[in-house]
Subunit: 154 residues, 2 copies
Amino acid sequence: MKPQDNVLKLEQQLCFAIYSAAHAFNRAYKPLLDALGLTYPQYIVMMVLWERNGQTVKEIGAKLDLDSGTLSPLLKRLEKLGMITRMRDENDERQVVISLTEHGKSARRQALDKIVPAIGQLVGCGVDDLDEMRDRVIKLKAALDGAVSHEGAS
Amino acid sequence: MKPQDNVLKLEQQLCFAIYSAAHAFNRAYKPLLDALGLTYPQYIVMMVLWERNGQTVKEIGAKLDLDSGTLSPLLKRLEKLGMITRMRDENDERQVVISLTEHGKSARRQALDKIVPAIGQLVGCGVDDLDEMRDRVIKLKAALDGAVSHEGAS
DNA sequence: CAAAATCCTATTGCGCACAATCTAATTATG
DNA sequence: CATAATTAGATTGTGCGCAATAGGATTTTG
């Protein structure tokens, strides 16, 4: 085996580990979220709204790194589920403000009672470890983000 | 703020960090893979084949945690790109063996020359750090996988 | 104030990801 | 050997994720 072969293998490891772990999270959440009738991306949007109710599509997109092509249909589904309302801002009619319904607010309690403990127990391995790992992954993402935005720079 | 609020926030962190990093990898790879005409999932399938040519759909799926609903159309696209061939196994006609074309084999060189160095420089931060991080993410995925398969167990 | 530029959201099209279903081939069982 | 059960892939339908485009609303500029 040439030395290059190892490089290609190694190179695969981190990106594929992340790719694969993301799918594993999805699968792990699915049975829990089915009880709420939410998908994982929908759940993430709900978390953003639980932290602060009444945000524009753009604000949500900035926090989640998602554009309107993803969010518009997703938010319509959340509206159809009775989780949120979508209203044009009176002062700036370009913006659409997303607000939680009572049903959407109460879903938060289910998440706290059922999902958080289940995932917590599942991942286990100590809070400190998780914190450190999260910080590293966030730094990794920042490095990747930087590279994309500096593309044309000298 | 109630103490529960922190839990829901914290709980978001790792899963969202992974989710978000996976997207960041995708975006970082895209401009590099465009030169090859491949998407990131297609590139991953090619890496599996570069490691060992001539594998069944099931073998590829097992390595990547993907089912036929994902792989069947993806492999057809790779075939249309002239990267692979799909042939029924003579001994067991249920199986389809995927093999690299010359074009598919030569794409590996481009990956080694262009993509690997670019991503390597991009992620940076020392090989040892990356190795450790990769191992942690793999363990995390294993924990998540285990939880899914043990669902009904006491 | 009018034209141009910018901004926000929605839409379209393509490619995953996965559940559910289907078909054909193989193996197990009586 | 015939039937049942299992296995491998393909197909269908739904929901992201993102590029490209379009349509209004707002701001900037002359």
